[in-house]
Amino acid sequence: MSSVVGRIKPRELLSRGGPLGGLIILCVVMTILSPFFLSFNNLFNVGIQIAVVAILALGQTFVIVSGGIDLSVGSVLGLAGIVFGWASVVAGLPLPVALALGIGTGALAGLTNGLLITLGNLPPFIATLAMLSAARGLALVVSGGVPLNPLPEAIRTLGRGDLFFIPLPVVLTLIMLVIAFGILRSTYSGRCMYAIGGNEEASRLSGINVSRQKLIIYTLSGLFAGIAGILFMARLASADPQGGFTYELDAIAAVVIGGASLSGGVGTASGTLIGALILGVLRNGLNLLNVSSFWQQVVIGAVIALAVMTDTLRRRKG
């Protein structure tokens, strides 16, 4: 174990240390304030509640590390979920095919973002803003504006079932975390994300095919949004065309709270998960304390600003 710890780079420890410290403090405070907070049931609840946003945020991490932004993930989640719902409910296709269509739609939307950015020369903000609108519109078109149900029993289990007492949404989140961690840490594309985000021109001049990597990056973000879409609909037991509305904001917030820099080149998968957990624990705790949902939004806004401010200060000193 100590050898693993020894190999962690100081820089990674630094960028992970801050948000992790914040999460621990937050949990301690919540445990003191509410007797209900620290229980397996409640903690699993937090896990289930953040699962969708966490998966979106992991995909978003690729984009933000590479110096871009993906505003479309919430809508792409909705579109992927609706395509999945249409395929299984309306077209009556077998589950694996419906799953492939749903997740594939997410990836395709991401690829389109990538093409708009590389071939179309659009800034990522604009390209994905356009997709935010278009994907939501397509979800409404495909569904006719109404929820599609009932979804097959097998997929509803994903939303409710357990694996060795661990809720399946949590299991799926952990699997996606490991995948995102591996991509960022050990794949060619992952290493390119840091290089492109840190200095795109230097990366290009070092012989990295920046356009191709961007296509891969945005496709991955769409793919993660597609998977999040399936999970979202599974939890709802119904395919809702409004699913994931404004979720992109939570996803971006989670990535940034987790220590990534919007100017690119910095960020980790574990940091993003911690960011999503901070948001989740905060919401859960405020609910337990009976804080009105209006005030919750105010508190969460303050936490986002505070988290990034302390992170910036910490980096400057470090």
Partner: protein, 494 residues
């Protein structure tokens, strides 16, 4: 102006240690020192960016506290930094008066602003249109605007941090004329430069800093090797240690490369073991030629052959695959990836070589990077250190190392020692010796004439997009290089 016992500590570093400095009226006082010697820290005390931990600053024998840039301006101290602080989207006049635009009834008086800007530019004898957008100006012209901005403040003390770094011969001369004019108006100037030959020409006195301490204060007429000894703390026998190895086969052959309005019929060869120097004034098309060869920018016509085989142009990946490496002029903007570690920066060009089925072998990558850090004597606390915290010389070694790890045999080095201190320069030169001895070929673009004459085996001179001549190193002098460099051209400023 006088600074007494100035001390400044940063976490883990003593940046300045009881530094005394004085500046007389109408004096040009040069500060010399290697990177990290404390020059920038010292002048940032004057511009209000830093406050001293200990010591005091006296202006006309009165102690002052320069707590911000605004205070510095009010005291009549203005600073010209080496990095450009201009807003490209605004005009020259707007930049000169940024934040202090002449106003009438609360609105900017554009006519008055334009007139005043023109007056200042005329006084400098610089032909820059006051209404031109800064984004349309060349780099040397921008530097001139930067100087005009400082002059518009009617400063009594003018601080210049490497103002000549991005200027070529004639523009430097123009700047020196301006400096001489200001001297007559009794403006005091602090001048920081790495170019020792400029020191005697423009300076009155020289203060040499090393490791945050004042080594000595001497007249500017002091002998150059004496300066070097003071700066590095050890004598450097030979500033340009070029040893010419045997030359081998042709590695790089460029035939009739043309790009409308930029390059005209450029042809030359680089052989194994050779350092081919490329001189010319700023804007002659040298960087553009390098970028065209490496496939960064498109060309209209022409061929590039690498090791006897024709190369497809217009793709840096292809150039890399064929064994070429490009050390760019703009190290911060195009060379390094600032937030990443030394190790990751070293591995940037060889990422593909360490990858199989999409997975990077990071252990192998780390091993190679560590070996390169050792081989090139890159001074970093650890391979994991973020590269932006390294000195310019060590960053440059990382950029060169990046290409060596990608097995490059033909290196194009554009201003390889710009902004690098004397000690590190010699190390880069020794590295070039080592590389050519092992069969590499180097095309070295440089605006530093002594460097071109000292390190090249052959010298190509460019002017207005054409190669105007080739000189053997024995026959070349500063004069005949400059003659070729200005053939059929006027200075970029004019």
């Amino acid at each position: 102006m006088e600074m007494r016992g100035i001390t400044k500590r940063f976490p883990g570093v003593m940046a300045l240690d009881e530094v005394d400095f004085e500046l007389e009226k109408g004096e040009v006082h040069v500060i010399l020192g290697e990177n990290g010697a404390g020059k920038s820290t010292l002048i940032k005390m004057l511009s209000g960016a830093y406050q001293p931990d200990e010591g005091e600053i006296l202006l006309d024998d009165e102690p002052v506290s320069i707590s911000s840039a605004t205070v510095a301006q009010e005291l009549g101290i203005s600073t010209i930094y080496q990095e450009f602080n201009l807003v490209p989207q605004l005009t020259t006049a707007e930049n000169i008066f940024l934040g202090r635009q002449p106003r009438r009834f609360g609105l900017v008086n554009r006519r008055k602003m334009g007139e005043e800007a023109r007056r200042i530019l005329e006084r400098m004898k610089v032909r820059v249109d006051a209404n031109a957008l800064v984004s349309n100006l060349g780099i040397p012209q921008r530097q001139m605007v930067e100087i005009a901005k400082a002059l518009s403040l009617d400063a009594r003390i003018l601080v210049m941090d490497e103002p000549t770094a991005s200027l070529s011969g004639q523009e430097v001369e123009r700047l020196f004329e301006i400096i001489r004019g200001l001297k007559e108006e009794e403006v005091s100037m602090i001048f920081i430069s790495h170019h020792l030959e400029e020191v005697a020409e423009i300076g009155d006195r020289v203060t040499v800093l090393r490791d945050g301490k004042v080594v000595d204060r001497v007249p500017a007429s002091t002998n150059r090797s004496e300066f070097v000894r003071m700066m590095v703390g050890r004598p450097i026998e030979d500033q340009f240690p070029r040893q010419q190895p045997e030359t081998g086969e042709v590695l790089l052959e460029v035939n009739n490369l043309s790009q409308k309005g930029i390059l005209e019929d450029a042809s030359f060869q680089v052989r194994a073991g050779e350092v081919v120097g490329m001189a010319g004034i700023v804007g002659a098309g040298r960087t553009e030629l390098a970028r065209a060869i490496f496939g960064v920018d498109p060309v209209d016509s022409g061929e590039v052959w690498v090791e006897g085989r024709r190369m497809k142009l217009g793709n840096p990946r292809e150039a890399k695959r064929r064994g070429m490496g490009f050390v760019t002029e703009d190290r911060q903007g195009q060379g390094i990836v600032p937030p990443l570690s030394v190790e990751e920066n070293l591995s940037l060009a060889s990422l593909g070589l360490n990858t199989s089925v999409g997975l990077v072998n990071r252990r192998e990558q780390r091993k190679r990077a560590r070996k390169m850090i050792e081989d090139l004597n890159i001074r970093t606390p650890s391979p994991e250190q973020e590269i932006r915290y390294l000195s310019g010389g060590n960053q440059q070694k990382v950029v060169i190392g990046k290409w060596l790890l990608a097995n490059s045999r033909v290196l194009i080095m554009d201003e390889p020692t710009r902004g690098i201190d004397v000690g590190a320069k010699v190390e880069i030169y020794e590295l070039m010796n080592e590389l050519t001895k092992n069969g590499a070929g180097i095309l070295m673009i440089s605006s530093d004439l002594p460097e071109v004459l000292g390190m090249s085996d052959r010298i190509l001179v460019m002017s207005e997009g054409r190669i105007t001549g080739e000189l053997s190193v024995d026959g070349a002098t500063q004069e005949n290089v400059m003659e070729l460099a200005t053939q059929g051209s006027e200075a970029a400023v004019e």
